[in-house]
């Protein structure tokens, strides 16, 4: 693979370790963020802030895994298209559905 020639053995391992520790740190952040109590008036029962923060942290984790572990950083544009299009659709659906549904139940259905 291309990246094997572009980067030294040690650099690749360092990069992988950085991703690993980033994933561990972001997992801890996800748990902490979920335990924070936001005022009820900010958007419960849908809890829009918890969901938005949770999804955003997950997106950063996904980018780290796809870009470094799955080598998209060095990949052919065709492979990138195969990876990015379904991921984009997945994220749009989760984001849009969460936001619209939460908004609906928080501000429309609940008086």
């Amino acid at each position: 693979m291309a990246h094997g020639n572009d980067h030294g053995h040690g650099n690749v391992i360092k990069e992988y370790m950085k991703v690993f520790w980033t994933l561990c740190g972001l997992t801890a952040l996800t748990v902490i963020a979920a335990k924070v109590h936001f005022p009820l008036s900010w958007g419960t029962p849908g809890d829009i802030l918890h969901v938005t923060i949770g999804i955003m942290i997950a997106v950063v984790k996904v980018i780290a895994v796809m870009y470094i572990f799955m080598h998209l950083k060095f990949e052919n544009p065709i492979i990138r298209a195969f990876a990015y299009i379904p991921t984009f659709l997945f994220l749009v659906l989760t984001f849009a559905l969460n936001f619209l549904e939460t908004w609906d139940y928080t501000y429309v259905m609940v008086p």
Binding site: T27, D47, A58, V62, F69, I79, T94, L97
Partner: protein
Amino acid sequence: MSAGLSLAHEPVTKIPSGKLAMWAFLGSELMFFTGFFGAFIVLRNANYDMFGEGSSHLNVWLALVNTFFLIGSSLTMALCIHNAEQGNRGKQQLFLGLTLVGALGFLVVKSIEYSDKWAHGYFPTQDHHTLFYSFYFIMTGFHAMHVIAGIIPMLFMWIRGFSSEGYQHPGRLEALGLYWHFVDLMWIFIFPALYLMIPYHGAAGGH
């Protein structure tokens, strides 16, 4: 590699066919899980208290241990492929073995979690928790099946790696690595969705 195997670079795209096929498969797999997430999101918001109550019985610590197993095994899989590219057969075997340990550890923890839920009567069929536990068992169950589906070729490659000639199909190892990272990616979403994102405020709806 024998001439009969079509893992060579495809002439137009210059991409190994096996790798392209794996990415196409992972795209369809993502759409498969997207259906579950879409249904989960809609029904969660319509049944917020019921989902919150169901989620509050899940063990976040066990899920965290499993997250560590998957993140760790994703790292060791990446290191295994890197060492395979470098021709370090010993380290390739070591890291593939560690990936297997992570995968099996995930299943052990998951079985502890499932048996605990069953012991307390949490089934998808039980009236009060029906909807949340239907999602819980289907989403984590399909994910666990993907883990098992990854373990089978991983075990095969690992055992073949001990033969005198070693495991000589780096393209297949790389495709397996992509699949394994995908399993990790799905857990990155399943973990907060089921275990964390439904803070339960009690039946009265207050803190």
